[in-house]
Amino acid sequence: MSAVIQSAPPRRERDFAIGWADAGPFLALAALLVIGFLINPDFLSSTNLSNVITRSAFIAIIAVGATFVISSGGLDLSVGSMAAFITGVMIMFMNGMVPHLGTWSVPAGMAIALLAGIACGLVNGLIVTVGKIEPFIATLGTMGIFRALITYLSDGGTIPIDRSLREAYRPVYFGTVAGIPIPILISLAVAAIGSFILYKTKYGRKCAAVGANADVARYSGISIIKTRTIAYLIQGACVAIAAICYVPRLGAATPTTGLLWELQVITAVVIGGTALRGGKGHIWGTVAGAVILELIANLMVLSDFVSEYLVAAVQGVIIIIAMLIQRFSNSK
């Protein structure tokens, strides 16, 4: 039977093609940079760009985690309040440890933050997978819970980081390595690890399969519960990393820390090209999405012709236009 003559040999897979479909968010980003420059040349100044990209790091880092969750068919509305909660727990722990550990309480606090993040992710994951509750509702519930916990921990006020730790910890947000701000480096590292996991490991395949068609995944011997739960764990870890970078910025946790971050995070993921209904995730697109959002906000301040009342409107319009650019560039 194998003697069948095959008329044309199949074409080899070409990997560039993938890159092209992914280009949407980067094109939108480029367009934005050009527009920004035309509006105000200061926009492209290195201080400004570095400020903006550094600021986008939190959202980018959290959004890398969200790419996993969304890719696996989930959603997480709790990331903003989770960030606040983790920040609070971390600072309280560090402050408490100062008498014993001195500045070593900074790394100890980081470890605690990671643990707390993973624990929060686990809670979300289990409610969604084992409890079988629609992710939107489940994480809306935990969003309220985490937010209330930080309010409770802080007595509604702020939890400032101990003075003696400030200077030791400050560089994590304000420092640079080879001229590049540390949060940028961290977010690049997180994205690199994220894309390695998503594109190169078994788990990444499982994640995309579960999001694309849960039945097919199940029939292929993939545990949906495990895969989705792990995605939430990754999300929790990413939130913790973002919190770790965030703390030195203002040096305190407050009940408003991370407010509405969830919306920005989801927006970054979607602008980046990952579909909300699950399936293939686009880590680098997500990062571009996070930068786009922060650039738009920055552009609003730098440009002079928008009334302060209308900033949100112009922002909305630009987001929609950015999506149109992307849509347009993707439809060959």
Binding site: N40, T47, R55, T151, A252, T256, V301, L302, E308
Partner: protein, 293 residues
């Protein structure tokens, strides 16, 4: 055993200042409930104006209220609902953000927001010699915010102080940090910054510190947050003054309301807390290291 019921309805702790309000309201309730066996103070927080209207309905549906102490989320939306409570026979104390119809309130306790803006402005006019570039960060769209901005604008009127830019940062330190970074990128020469609330000032200071810029002579806030008052005490060069707007005004209001109820002294009218400039000289009076705010 007929207890007099005093309901306290305040916004949820959505930023530092309101957190202070919640703290002081709860403290007052605890103290009074312990001290006066026939008075019961119930504190309820609400995250939005709508929720606050609902809370008023809920509080008065279940029991008869003898008095209501309210810090309204927004003025307009709460006016009618508070009137409904009043029609039910309760004594009404309004705090901070006023109602649209002053006839409703029996007692009004508030700070002077116009003065907050004006006194800060006057200080700047004075120190900068009536000349310079300013940037302003404002809170959320409310009457309070409007009044402070208006007081400030009145204060600099007729001088050569120029407001380069004014934008909302929602009384949020994070947003203030970003906004200040962007102001710094946009304007090469800024003489002074005014954030109309200390939560925002924290973000502003961090952004200035990080930029290493030295052109900014003053960065001022308002509200009397303990961290900022401490700076004034310590003689900080960039933040040498502050205006008070103490969240403990809620406690004052609750005590006055209870005093009225238990009959020792009929209390009516307006109590306006001054917003004098806090300077190194008088700062100690305004410093409460144990309060959360």
């Amino acid at each position: 055993a007929d207890k007099k019921v005093v309901a306290v309805s305040i916004p949820a702790a959505d930023h530092g200042w309101t957190a202070g309000v919640v703290y002081h309201a709860q403290a007052a309730a605890k103290e009074i409930n312990a001290a006066f066996p026939d008075v019961e103070v119930i504190v309820k927080t609400s995250p939005s104006a709508t929720a606050q209207v609902s809370a008023l309905e809920d509080l008065s549906a279940g029991r008869k209220l003898d008095a209501l102490v309210i810090l309204p989320h927004t003025s307009e939306e709460l006016t009618m609902p508070v009137k409904a409570v009043k029609d039910g026979g309760a004594f009404i104390t309004v705090v901070d953000r006023g109602l649209n119809d002053p006839a409703i309130q029996d007692l009004y306790v508030a700070g002077d927001n116009i003065a907050v803006g004006k006194n800060t402005a006057k200080f700047l006019v004075d120190k900068l010699g009536g000349k310079g570039n300013l940037v302003v960060l404002r809170g959320i769209p409310t009457v309070i915010d409007d009044e402070r901005i208006k007081g400030f604008q009145d204060g600099i009127a007729g001088t050569d102080l120029k407001i380069l830019d004014i934008q909302y940062a929602n009384w949020n330190s994070d947003e203030a940090f970003k906004l200040m970074q962007d102001y710094l990128a946009k304007y090469p020469q800024i003489d002074a910054v005014w954030a109309n609330d200390d939560d925002m000032l924290l973000g502003v200071l961090e952004a200035i510190k990080e930029s290493g810029r030295t052109d900014i002579k003053f960065a001022l806030g308002g509200n009397g947050m303990k961290e900022i008052v401490k700076k004034v005490i310590d003689g900080d060069a960039v933040t040498p003054v502050e205006t008070p707007y103490p969240p403990s005004m809620i406690k004052t209001a609750i005590y006055m309301t209870v005093a009225n109820l238990v009959g020792q002294a009929p209390v009516r009218g307006n109590v306006k807390l001054d917003a004098p400039l806090i300077t190194q000289a008088n700062a100690a009076e305004f410093y409460f290291p144990d309060s959360p705010f």
